[in-house]
Assembly symmetry: none
Homo-oligomer: 537 residues x 2
């Protein structure tokens, strides 16, 4: 019989404290739906009454399965619960549960709240009861609990105890400043449970200020707590909150936990966690972190030649969990460090079967090595690699040809005497023997070239309407006057597919042009589905 761990998501509340993140009501509705569907137990939506976004968001219940949680402060000292307008707004929000934040470090009670220790306890008690009376599940985030416990254990415990005795379903121990170490968490949680609050009513809320939010959360679970709070991709104030995207697979897949615990996330739902993580970044318009545990593009990637051939034989002994369990995939990187086995495995994954003895394979490897020596980086440009491989092993249709282009950047004084820089590009393309000429202005020469290039591809034009440039990276490979420029371009289209292409040249415009061309050709090839050969991620 495995014990249930309750997953509490605070992406929409504490996650909103992340520098640079500001959710709209629409964002919140979309994210709440993702979290709900994924199988989390609690979705904390924000602080109704604190700002118009959160107030609007709480005008309706936004989850179907998960409990929808409103966050807010305990009642002010000196007024009754019925005379505190903030509390009234909180209790009127359309939530299933209320999570109060309560000070549990006597220093903060005195300095930040300016009330007595007893008044603070009374606010906790009365607020929990008011939530219960309003038909909501009450819970209390004990702010600064661990630092408070170190400074004054009796008072910190009294706050937790008061919440529990008043009927809080969960008493959540918060490491608000994020500096507590796992051994300390373990020890203090044991003392809290020893004081008489059951672990079945305790939660943990950890921050990543020493890079140990996940470890602190898991240490607390080992010590007995049964609710864990965190955010998607670990967003949050300062260094972020505990990353649920890391904690959930660890609880489900690592034997150390999986035998003892279970969560509301099914094995099937778990295979959607990579997608969830990427979709969330997509919504925030951030590049996903390639090295994220479990879900990152590199999480199951191997570059080393010495490991690569062995992985192909017996992946289990090189992978701590199977990538499919989290909806990710194995990636044996093509690079000059890897051997022939890397190439065969990578080509196979892309639906290109080629026997090890095939001479064209040796030719392909030689070309890749030569190009990587020039500065190409195929491990970061899957689509360019696939185009190159298909071109040498099979064929790539000759869709169109650019016969010439020209970019002009001019900085001069405009009619009003202001300095102005204008970028313009002209492209000549040959499609089916017919020459098309396009011109465009852009934010810079590459942008102008990109627009001009995609302006008129004749009969292919309708096929690239959903092609978008998502990211553009430039690296100067060696400094000084003989610099080689490497350009990587990420593209995506309406199907949700994303691909990277690469270009290298002493001339940044040329390098960009190569990567842009590869992207368009890959898109056209992908559209043709090449007999189901193209792997769309």
């Amino acid at each position: 019989m495995r014990e249930r761990i309750y997953l509490f998501d605070t992406t929409l509340r504490d996650g909103q404290q992340t520098p640079g993140i500001d959710f709209s009501v629409e964002d919140k509705i979309a994210i709440a739906a993702m979290l709900d569907e994924f199988g989390l137990d609690y979705v904390e939506g924000g602080y109704p009454g604190a700002n118009p976004t959160d107030t609007t968001f709480f005008a309706e219940k936004r989850t179907r399965r998960a409990k929808f949680v409103a966050f807010g402060m305990t009642k002010r000292a000196g007024v009754s619960t019925s005379n505190d307008p903030g509390l009234a707004t909180l209790l009127q929000a359309r939530s299933d549960a209320v999570c109060y934040v309560a000070k549990s470090w006597d220093y903060h009670v005195r300095v930040a709240l300016g009330v007595t220790n007893e008044e603070n306890l009374e606010s906790i008690r009365a607020s929990v009861e008011a939530a219960r009376d309003a038909g909501k599940e009450p819970m209390v985030d004990c702010e600064h609990f661990f630092d408070g416990f170190k400074a004054n254990p009796d008072y910190a415990l009294a706050c937790a105890r008061t919440a529990y005795d008043a009927g809080a379903r969960w008493v959540v121990l918060c490491d608000t400043n994020g500096g507590t170490q796992p051994s300390e968490v373990r020890e203090i949680v044991a003392k809290v449970i020893g004081s008489g609050i059951p672990g079945a009513n305790l939660g943990i809320h950890a921050h990543d200020d020493t890079g140990q939010a996940v470890a602190n959360s898991l240490a607390a679970i080992e010590a007995g707590v049964r609710q864990v709070q965190g955010t998607i991709n670990g967003i949050g104030e300062r260094c972020g909150n505990a990353n649920l995207v890391t904690i959930i697979p660890t609880l489900a897949l690592k034997p150390h936990f999986a035998g003892r615990f279970e969560t509301g996330v099914s094995d099937e739902a778990l295979t959607g966690i990579s997608r969830l993580s990427r979709a969330f970044d997509e919504l925030l318009n951030r590049a996903p972190e390639a090295q994220s545990p479990y879900v990152g593009a590199s999480a199951f990637a191997t570059k080393a030649g010495i490991h690569a051939s062995a992985i192909a034989k017996e992946p289990k002994t090189y992978e701590h969990v199977p990538p499919e369990a989290v909806g990710n995939r194995r990636k044996v990187m093509v690079s000059d460090q890897g051997g022939k086995a890397n190439f065969v495995a990578e080509l196979k994954r892309r639906g290109i079967d080629v026997p090890r003895e095939d001479r064209r394979l040796d030719a392909l490897i030689a070309v890749v090595k030569e190009r990587e020596a020039e500065g190409y980086a195929y491990e970061g440009a899957d689509a360019s690699f696939e185009l190159l491989a298909r071109g040498m092993l099979h064929t790539v249709p000759d869709f169109f040809r650019v016969t010439s282009f020209r970019c002009l950047v001019e900085r001069r004084f405009d009619a009003n005497g202001n300095l102005k820089t204008v970028s313009e590009a002209v492209v000549k393309v040959l499609v089916d023997g017919e020459e098309k000429m396009s011109v465009a202005e852009g934010d810079g020469p590459v942008n102008a070239l990109d627009i001009a290039l995609r302006k008129d591809l004749g009969k292919f034009q309708h096929e690239i309407g959903d092609l978008e440039l998502a990211d553009y990276k430039v690296r100067i490979l060696n400094g000084g006057t003989e610099a080689i420029t490497r350009v990587l371009i990420e593209s995506h289209d309406g199907t949700g597919a994303r691909w990277w292409t690469v270009g290298v040249s002493t001339n940044i415009i040329d390098a960009s042009f190569q990567a842009l061309m590869d992207s368009i050709i890959y898109k056209l090839m992908k559209n043709r589905d090449m007999a189901g050969l193209v792997a769309a991620e």
Copy 2:
């Protein structure tokens, strides 16, 4: 009496397995110098003999204080140490120490090496002795130690024991697949020590596949190991290695560890860790992670809300460590006093004395903040910062003015039918009321612009003969179509001076132009003897 923890950096070896990272010999030399100066005990440089880069890198000793470590495999079974060419190359490398990787999971001994368990032990023994005989400090990375221990504890221990008995200074327990949990690390390390290998000879090598590489490293230290391996900013295969940039401040600043342990990094050196982390990302041309523990731009940032005003009153109760201890800054309000003190100190360092009350100082701070929000990075562009400061606090002579420029990049078929790309730039400059017009071709539009710009500066021309562009870096600050481009240019001249300038624009040519202009103006100002200029005002 605090116990010494030895810091072992593997950025240049295991870090090189990071997808997308490929160090050149010059990169390695620069990074080794940074690590050495910072105070790490061991700098592992790579695998001499495995590739030309590492072989060249090990042609010389590259550290001054730190022990310089060569990584390689134990001798092959069936040959003597003197007949193994790989081992010979390793021992001939100019290193102080040798770190062997040895299988310690019997499964891998059988399947990956294809030798008997005894042959593997014999390889470990003989290789350690060979290193000792060659006058090198020997150490052994026990690959797959934790998984191996779970599968066959006796054999894993036998590997560690053999290394120790043969005289290995360090026996390093590696969580190669990265899936081991902190509790398991704690338990297994205790068993290894219990078997008779002293903690003083044990190291830990953790990976971040469950987001707990830091926690695993610290758990191993708590359990008794005294060497910790990791990388700068946690780079490494898959999800990365243990992040030394997180571990070092935790050991030094968190009371849980600081009272018991010490490292070779002085308190003063520790204040350089934010700079080290950022300089490393700069070298890799990656955007620093804002939420990195201790060193991230957001690590001590608080967004407006319930905490912000309280932090101003008593930061210590809201910050788990003081940001100055790691060379980082609190970020709460726009004009915090700490920020001003930083400016005054930085200006003073550059010979610009300005009183704190000077209103122009506030104006300068406001402009710097505004520009940094737009994407400028003055931390990495000392000369541009100095020009800006001098321009606002004193004056910078109006040497010359560029009235207009034009860059043209054209790709077309040449007379022989080959595709050819030509870049040309035209620049109009006003010097002393006289207009000069120059034209140049280059390897790309920026190179052409650089050459044209420096072709004829009239009476200043003779002053910039020794000015050279040493490095050029481009970063796209946000992907997609609204990308902002930041260009950093390093220049040097005949006096050996080097300086960095910055430009930011949606247009890469504009951004490059700004940085090029700053570089020339800085050079002219520098020629005029800045010290004299300042003294005169």
